[in-house]
């Protein structure tokens, strides 16, 4: 048992911090969020070619760095601190995870190598319109015919869905319901019958698209594992993505605290720094409690993800750790960002100040893949309704 970054992990974290300070400052973020793709191509090239981060947990034999989830999380935390705009999350935390969890050996060989080697981007699309994040939200259908598998439907809230090269699609067998009949499929973005529409979003640093499937034919080789029974696999992919999201949130929750502490040390009112008022100090202490606890929840979940990906942990452990991290970090980030806005007063309300970007990202990540109340109910099922 050792619950701290190793020296190597520490180095990865520090490298990420200094790289991002250079390439993902406020100006870079604002440029990226205003462009249609939602990220800067040249930054993505530097990430994939110079840093090779996108291959962080792709196995060595497929051209990856073969590092673990703790290392991934260390990078994501720094990206959260900087509001980095890139297809990193969708490609690595949705695409690579889905391939690692649900891809056949052949699919992994082909697609993970493509991602590692060519910097291709990927994403996962699975929900229909609505406010659910469970199996019932899946309403795109697949139909098995003598000519192969066909996908039909519209997928919503797809992170980077308008730019990803590779789409991993969850669909349900026509007529199935709930957790039954779910299949996962790999579809190139350019396949016939696929169309995507980018949507304007309140949080401009995390782009979303709607993707429509009109009788899209899927190669037999691109049907992922356990088709018809793939909900458990998808659920594990989602849990890995939740831990990744919690990393972004933890970084943001820390960063807004720092911004606030810096501000209230300097800002003077009534003849003294506002940071000397107890109301400010106590709120800052509450923020730190949350930021530190978010880190603990996150690092633990990252360790569990490592165990799981190494085949040593169970899906139940993964689900529990992911729900704890996502529930806690979602609330911590939103709480901290809200306090930060309040403690900055009017200045934090301006477009020029970066705070609103954090506040909006706190809200969008809070909702994404289930908010705290969703995950608490999920944990309650594990605690209270589990067969004894």
């Amino acid at each position: 048992m050792e619950f701290r970054f190793s020296e190597e992990q520490q180095m990865i974290r520090d490298t990420a911090a200094s790289f991002l300070a250079e390439v993902s400052d406020s100006q870079a973020v604002r440029q990226a969020m205003a462009n249609g793709a939602g990220y800067d191509e040249s930054l993505w090239s530097r990430i994939t070619e110079e840093m090779f981060w996108h291959a962080v947990h792709i196995p060595e034999k497929l051209g990856g760095l073969d590092l673990g989830y703790v290392e991934l999380v260390a990078m994501l935390e720094q990206m959260g601190r900087c509001l980095t705009c890139s297809p990193f999350f969708s490609t690595v935390c949705l695409g690579v995870n889905a391939l690692r969890v649900a891809g056949t050996e052949a699919q992994q060989k082909k697609y993970l190598a493509q991602i590692a080697g060519e910097g291709r981007t990927a994403t996962l699309a699975w929900t229909g319109k609505g406010r659910r994040w469970d199996a019932k939200s899946i309403d795109t259908t697949y139909t098995l015919t003598k000519d192969g598998v066909f996908l039909d439907g519209r997928l919503h809230y797809v992170t980077d869905g308008h730019t990803a090269d590779l789409l991993i699609i969850a669909a349900r067998e026509n007529g199935s319901s709930g957790e039954q009949g779910i299949g996962l499929f790999i579809v190139p973005a350019g396949a016939g019958g696929v169309s995507s529409v980018a949507l304007p979003t309140m949080d401009q640093t995390r782009k979303q698209a709607t993707i429509s499937f009109d009788k899209v034919q899927v190669d037999a080789a691109d049907i992922m594992r356990d088709a018809g029974d793939a909900w458990p696999l998808l659920s594990q992919v989602l849990d890995l993505a939740r831990i990744a999201t919690a990393a972004d949130q933890t970084g943001g929750a820390e960063r807004v605290l720092e911004m606030t502490v810096d501000y209230i040390k300097e800002r003077r009112q009534f003849g003294r720094p506002v940071g000397s008022f107890q109301a400010m100090k106590h709120k800052a202490a509450d923020m730190m409690l949350r930021a530190e606890s978010a880190r603990s929840a996150l690092y633990y979940a990252a360790c569990v993800a490592d165990e799981y990906l190494a085949g040593r942990g169970t899906d139940v452990m993964l689900a529990e750790a992911a729900s704890i991290a996502k529930a806690y970090c979602s609330e911590a980030y939103f709480f901290n960002a809200g306090c930060a806005l309040q403690m900055h007063g009017g200045i934090g309300f301006t477009w020029e100040h970066d705070l609103h970007l954090y506040f909006k990202r706190a809200k969008s990540t809070q909702q994404y893949l289930g908010d705290a109340s969703f995950h608490r109910e999920r944990l309650a099922r594990m605690i209270l309704d589990a067969p004894t």
Binding site: G130, R131, G345, F359, K360, Y368
Partner: protein
């Protein structure tokens, strides 16, 4: 205590309701429910026309005394007026600062000449007002005013120089009331004057502030020797703080009930969405919707108690003093509830690049509710010190 309105009052309700039904239609149909906080920039011309229509019908200044051209309504009838106005979807009033602040301030502190000069124009909807209170660097420390007013004997005018911030509707306004330092050697709340400054002059420069919504309801206003006639100071030089504090008190009047009806409309919209998208079957959302409902009802009861002058145990003071803290916190929570009822759909904006939906604007804009007009922290200080008599923060030994 009784809840029922008198027959006269109910008849009055009928008269305002039918007037609104008749008039808030046709070309005004599209401004129904628009122009509230965070939406103040929308349909400005139409809402200005609507102000004239209200004035023609005698529905401006309903709470002002008759001798000043108002309608002199009783508290009950003012309550009814605001209820019906909001129920009908009456748009945000472009003249609300003049009617709600400048008018009552002039009635209380202005000279007869000032009253005659300004009140009729406000009632007619012809002159719009904005306020010049906050300054950059002052924030909650309202008395930390750096804007200066110097009397120029040659032109017989006050010349105002300084910077104000968070001034809404500055571009649309004809006049601005400005608090400025008349005694350059003074500090804090002493040595201030209260000025009525025309906006259409070279010495006034308005720069919109782009807010986190991407829109610009608020402005910075730069005064560079902006001129103000000698008779446009309210009271004497040095009276500024007294007038400003009196004016802040007007914000807690009957119009709070109108504000609550707007809140009710927002709440209803959120409930309708919850019923439509299935959020209404989520137990935690149900709890929060019920909580918002409770909060809104009690906000109303608090106001009714204040308006009825429930003075037992000094409660008039108390129920009025909590008002800002109460509504701002409630409203901020409502904005968050709106997003959580919507779920992931909450992220999707109206149109690219960044036109937000009304509920997104609500969510973001309500974060300012707990800041402007005295932050929640300042409100709690005021409550603790004035209503509960707790000691002030000791002055620091060294600055």
């Amino acid at each position: 205590m009784r809840l029922a309105f008198s027959k006269d009052d109910e008849a009055f309700r009928e008269s305002i309701a039918s007037w609104l039904a008749e008039n808030l239609s046709g070309k005004f149909e599209k401004i129904r429910f628009r122009g509230g906080p965070g939406d103040e920039h929308m349909y400005f011309d139409e809402r200005r026309d609507w102000e004239y229509r209200l004035a023609d019908g005698g529905w401006t200044g309903v709470g002002w005394p008759k001798e000043h051209g108002g309608r002199g309504l009783s508290i009950e009838q003012q309550v009814i007026y605001h209820e019906e106005y909001a129920r009908a979807g009456g748009p945000g009033r472009v003249g609300h600062i003049g009617e709600g602040l400048t008018g009552p301030m002039l009635i209380a502190f202005g000279s007869a000449e000032q009253q005659q000069r300004f009140l009729p124009q406000i009632l007619a909807g012809k002159e719009l007002w904005c306020q010049g209170y906050s300054e950059p660097g002052a924030g909650s420390d309202l008395a930390n005013v750096r804007t200066k007013a110097v009397f120029d004997r040659d032109s017989d005018r006050w010349l105002i120089t300084g910077q104000k911030i968070w001034t809404s509707l500055a571009q649309e306004s004809d006049w601005c009331f400005v608090i400025a330092r008349t005694d350059p050697n003074s500090r804090g709340s002493r040595g201030l004057g209260f000025f009525l400054v025309p906006m259409d002059q070279p010495g006034v420069d308005i720069r919109p502030i782009r807010q986190l919504t991407g829109t610009s309801e608020f402005n910075e206003v730069f005064f560079d020797a902006a001129a103000c006639d000698a008779d446009c100071i309210v009271g004497e030089p040095g009276d500024g703080w007294k007038v400003a504090m009196g004016l802040l008190g007007f914000e807690r009047g009957v119009s709070t009930l109108g504000q609550q009806m707007l809140f009710q409309n927002e709440f209803n919209e959120i409930v309708a969405i919850a019923e439509e998208n299935g959020a209404a079957s989520d137990p935690t959302i149900r709890q929060r919707i019920a909580d918002a409902h409770i909060g809104l009802r009690i906000m109303r009861y608090n106001s009714m108690r204040t308006l009825s002058g429930d003075v037992g145990d000094g409660s008039l003071e108390k129920s009025a003093m909590i008002y800002k803290l109460y509504w701002s916190t409630w409203h901020r929570n409502l904005g968050n509830l709106a997003m959580d009822v919507l779920g992931p759909e909450a992220e999707i904006a109206e149109t690219a690049p960044y036109d937000l939906t009304r509920l997104q604007s609500l969510f973001l804009f309500t974060r300012a509710d707990t800041i402007y007009g005295g932050t929640n922290q300042i409100q709690r200080n005021i409550i603790a010190e004035r209503a509960l008599g707790l000691p002030r923060e000791p002055r620091p030994a060294t600055d």
